[in-house]
Amino acid sequence: MSRPGFVLEVDDRTPPLVVHEGLGFRLEDGFPLGTRVVYPPESIPAVPDVDEAIREALLHPHDMDPLPELLFSGMKLTIAFDDLSLPLPTMKAPDIRGRIIEHVLTMAAEAGVDDVKLIAANALHRRMTAAELRHIVGERVFRSFYPQGDLYNFDAEDRDDLTHLGTTDKGEDIEISKRAAESDLLVYVNVNLVAMDGGHKSVGIGLASYKSLRHHHNAKTMVHSRSFMDHKHSAMHHSAWRMGRIIKDSVKVFQIETTLNNDVFPKPFDFLQKREWEWSVRDQATMLGVRRGLAVAPQKMRHKMFHDMRSVYGLTGVNAGEVEAVHERTLQKVHQQHLVEVQGQSDVLVMGVPYLGPYNVNSSMNPILATCMGLGYYFNSYRGQPVVRKGGAVILYHPLNEGFNQLHHPSYVDFYEEVLAESTDPAVVGEKYEQQFATDPWYIHLYRTSHAYHGVHPFYMWYWAAHAMDHVDSVIWVGADRRAAARLGFRAATTLADALEIASDTLGTSPSITYLHNPPHLLADVR
């Protein structure tokens, strides 16, 4: 039986609570009495037989013919799939996408389909390495397609493989992968880890170029996405949905969406997803061991320890068929796993930024990514209204000291050193510098041939945080490198007490506080 999420009120019986901070975690015992702590629901039950569930979904899709009836000899079939930014942390092999692709290919082989291409829908994310691709699709698929060049990363700067499908009624360009657009059938395999994923965002964003993405990936749209975890109230999703409906007219998309439960921490780190007061003696001992180990381990080893973690997610659902019909069912499952009811807003929102976000898998969490994770993803983990009131404060935990990965994030370095030095206002930096970074030939070269995120990507990270920056008055990082925090335009504090002291300038000495206890993922349903 899995218990629903709930809101704890810190009292004198509450033990210290875990707060994630980069490559480590803190046991915070400084939460003032009465602090609300939002706990995610426990893992909901997984489907008993994954292969059976996949077969069932492919043979009985929603608002579409069964997959075998859509496959015929001589057709052009393209299978696109989410890249390594999902799920987080990476799933223990076999990845669910690989298992689904195997089923799809088995049906395609039976139907005599010869022309099959597999495209990782990484949009402006970095190209994945062969090993990363193999982890997602599985060894069998990898061996059959990769050497021939039929399994590859999408290249959003390859003018020859892009096609313009038109514009929406709001004048938004739709430019996506030509191969996908010209296929007789485009099968998209997604992992719907959180509520913002999937739907028309899969093809419309995952396989799109900068020309198309710039319409919704900008400061103005993001400020009006409240939140981007709630597609019905997200300007970004509205744009993606407008595009998706036009894509639908010219491309036959067979969407396969999967949902996962909250089993993110494998043993022996499973204590991190238990409620602290329920820790057994063994959990306490493991926690102490891990904490002391982290304290002596060099940065590199800590990085390895965390990034080698593979989650043992259970599959909670797989749905296939027409995009919107599928996505509605998918969201039901996601909400069942993540939604927690929270009564009213508070003055201060506390969040621990963990070691991992979508853009630093096998890489490092630089200050810009940490901001995106805290003020972007975590801040937006709400439905209804933000957890913190307008003009409130956000307190984040992260050391901001991991530096930049030159291979993966070259444009981030320049963004940090040059752009943020001048302004930290998302609208201003976008207006002034986005074009320059997006069209810089060197960044494009690195994006296409190396493993670098696109030149414009750091801007997107900053836009992701735009809604939070617009909404709250102060952002304070606990335990952060002061210079890094200052460069980002934020303040740093050593402890929670200091951070609350800083916030007291505007919020008084006894503000109401809410701490979002994630990971595992949660979505606060603020009434």
């Binding site: 218990r3 704890l8 009292d11 102490l288």
Partner: protein
């Protein structure tokens, strides 16, 4: 050096936060979400076999008894009733403190004590293996489910094996020292297995070591305990009728302990035995009254010459 200091700080924080050596606590707002306790049934047959009995004898005689006597004074009355009956019996007593069990056990004659087992709350004394082993080794406890659950078979088996039982029908320690509501379990067992019930009343344990206290108060407080006439359920008597009779017997014994046998008898006859649940007055007054140790007309202390007191 700082690593060592941080490690010590970490361990200290965890020891304090998770209350090492004490019972874990659940934050109030999380209480509705506590999972029902695991129904792990710790087997306790071993604790009623020879090796465990021998170990218990040593533990009780060499450890528990001297310690107990060093902390409290006791006055035991009414043991003569045991001479007239053969076991097994069910000792039914009021429950006000963790001192009740050692008081009853150590008041019994050795041959009775060795064959007496104590019914203990499964969710309290049997929630971890070490607590289960410790309490069954020292006090010969076995688990019962005080929420009236599934373990009801166990006390019957113990009785059937010829062991006497100690049962506290209130199911939990009193919060103010006064007697609470009696449940039917003891009456049911007595009726079902045809064994007599020996009512037991004791006073002073609440004053000496109330709920929440881990050790008796200093000053060797006085405890009194009184065993009453065995009660046997009549052939036509239902459990529902028998249970109140047991409660009245305990109440009368308490009255007797407070006054004299004759006065108590007369009050029983007149139906005016004082209510053992205490007067309906402000909570503090109830606690106040019970926090005073009973006065026993014990013989004056010997060796007056050695007393340090100036009086």
């Amino acid at each position: 050096m700082s690593f060592l200091k941080e490690s010590v700080d970490d361990v200290r924080q965890v020891a304090r936060g998770w209350r090492w050596g004490r019972r874990a606590q659940v934050p109030k707002s999380a209480e509705p979400w506590v999972l029902p306790s695991r129904s792990t049934v710790f087997r306790t047959e071993w604790s009623r076999r020879k090796p465990a009995m021998a170990a218990r004898e040593v533990a009780q005689k060499a450890g528990l008894e001297p310690l107990f006597r060093s902390q409290v004074r006791t006055r035991v009355e009414g043991l003569d009733v045991l001479a007239r009956i053969d076991g097994p019996v069910i000792f039914v007593a009021n429950h006000a403190s963790h001192l009740d069990t050692p008081l009853i056990l150590l008041s019994l004659p050795d041959e009775w004590r060795r064959r007496t087992a104590v019914a203990a709350a499964a969710d309290y004394f049997f929630d971890t293996w070490w607590r289960a082993v410790g309490s069954s080794l020292l006090f010969n406890t076995f688990p019962i489910d005080r929420r009236g659950g599934t373990m009801a078979a166990t006390p019957g088996e113990v009785l059937a094996d010829g062991w006497s039982l100690v049962i506290y029908p209130e199911g939990t320690r009193s919060t103010d020292g006064w007697m609470g509501k009696f449940r039917m379990g003891a009456a049911y067992l007595a009726k079902e297995y045809g064994v007599p019930v020996v009512p037991v009343a004791h006073r002073g344990t609440f004053a000496a070591m109330p709920r929440g206290q881990g050790w008796p108060s200093p000053g060797r407080r006085q405890l009194t305990i009184r065993f009453g006439e065995p009660l046997v359920a009549g052939p036509e008597e239902s459990v529902r009728d028998f249970a109140p009779r047991i409660k009245s017997a305990v109440a009368a014994l308490l009255d007797e302990d407070r006054s004299t046998w004759w006065e108590a008898r007369r009050r029983v006859a007149a139906g005016s035995t004082p209510d053992p649940t205490g007067p309906e007055v402000a909570p503090w007054r109830r606690v106040w009254e019970q926090s005073e140790s009973p006065v026993a007309d014990a013989p004056a202390r010997k060796l007056l010459a050695w007393r340090r007191s100036a009086s």
